[in-house]
């Protein structure tokens, strides 16, 4: 399974994931507090500079990820140009760009396995309110394992449809797709049970 972690290895990949996430939280809150467009411009430049530190390929792929924001940026820009509150418009747009770019930066520089470790550490204290860490662990693994397989089955179903129909598959293929999913769930439940299932007291 491909995660969004960058294929380019950066120094930041070695930093502890927990620290990066904590930093992201603090900076995101800071971004809300700042109202001056000038400071926002400075902030965004620094974020872009961070991307540049990791090299050109990393920078380009980082910028590309911001493109999905264009409809919102367009709307906000037009709105504030029309209203004449340009400074406020710039603040909103830059704040949005910085927040998303920073969050993406953490995702791009953190391995999936490190993220999962953080989740396990965060989940530990929750065992007191009844969360089963083992169940969470298995659930995450199952989704990562079975999503590609479900996509393959969904694609195969669409192809089976097309092989016997001149039209493109319509929503009706979702029905067999869900039946397949539900049957897979039963099979996995049995596989889990065959190897001991979810245990009430699990040793770490």
């Amino acid at each position: 399974m491909i995660s969004l972690s960058s294929p380019v290895k950066t120094k930041a990949h070695g930093w502890p994931a927990g620290a990066k996430l904590a930093g992201l939280c603090i900076l995101s809150i800071l971004l809300i507090a700042i109202t001056s467009p000038l400071i926002h411009a400075l902030f965004f430049s620094v974020v872009l500079f961070l991307y540049l530190l990791a090299g050109r390929i990393f920078f380009v792929s980082g910028i590309k990820k911001l493109f999905i924001l264009w409809p919102f940026i367009l709307i906000v820009s037009l709105w504030h140009l029309y209203n004449g509150q340009t400074a406020q418009g710039i603040t909103i747009v830059l704040r949005l760009l910085s927040a998303v770019a920073l969050a993406n930066l953490v995702t791009m520089t953190t391995k999936l396995s490190d993220m999962i470790d953080v989740i396990h550490r965060l989940a530990k204290p929750l065992t007191f309110i009844g969360l089963k860490t083992q169940a969470l662990e298995i659930s995450i693994a199952l989704v990562i394992r079975l999503t590609p397989e479900l996509i393959a089955k969904g694609t195969a179903l669409s192809q089976a449809w097309r092989a016997r129909s001149p039209k493109r598959p319509n929503w009706k293929v979702v029905i067999p797709f869900i039946v397949v999913t539900l049957d897979d769930a039963d099979h996995s439940a049995e596989a889990l049970r065959a190897r001991g299932g979810i245990q009430p007291t699990h040793k770490e």
Binding site: S3, I68, T107, A135, I140, G154, A185, S188
Partner: protein, 181 residues
């Protein structure tokens, strides 16, 4: 226990897969991403609690960097973006849809599931989603709502489809319709 867990996990995977398989066409030729259909079905098929957990699990995996959102998006960035309200609204929507299906004892399942999907998957989801949009874009709720009107017809069609599919599943795999167990 195992069966609950695997149904939750498989539905999280299903929601991801529905957003990623080549687009399916509605009968009128409008291509849709089926991801929000997956949210509705999580509620109608798994019920309130398991449906919401499936969606939460899906979001957790998106957050840690798996490209599971429609169009292959994911990572922490999507939670910093303007549509964060809709993401947070997903599990709430699934919960309410599931609750309505669980509690309604009369009428055909297709109708119940469609109405539940409209209430949870459109009314509630849009309220939370638009509130998020308003905060992120620093606009009033009413102004932000205007941006979303064009999506309503498509979502109503999805709610109807969710109803029909739920009824089909009730027939094909009655034991797997956990919302009605």
């Amino acid at each position: 226990m195992e069966r609950n867990l695997t149904h939750i996990a498989l539905f999280a995977a299903l929601i991801a897969a529905l957003g990623l398989i080549p687009r399916i066409e509605l009968s009128f030729g409008i291509p849709i991403t089926a991801q929000s259909l997956g949210i509705m079905l999580a509620g109608t098929i798994l019920g309130a609690k398991r449906g919401a957990l499936a969606v939460l699990l899906f979001l957790l995996l998106v957050a840690i960097g798996l490209p599971f959102l429609a169009g292959g998006r994911g990572g922490l960035g999507v939670f910093a973006g303007p549509t964060v309200g809709f993401l947070l609204g997903f599990p709430i929507a699934a919960f309410i849809i599931g609750l309505i299906v669980e509690k309604t004892r009369i009428g055909p399942i297709a109708l119940t599931a469609t109405l539940a999907s409209i209430i949870g998957g459109i009314v509630v989801l849009y309220i939370v989603g638009i509130a998020g949009l308003a905060v992120k874009l620093d606009k009033s709720f009413a102004d932000s709502a205007k941006l979303m009107y064009i999506f309503i017809p498509g979502d109503i069609i999805k709610a109807i489809i969710a109803g029909i599919i739920t009824a089909a599943i009730a027939k094909a795999r009655p034991a797997s319709l956990l919302s009605k167990q």
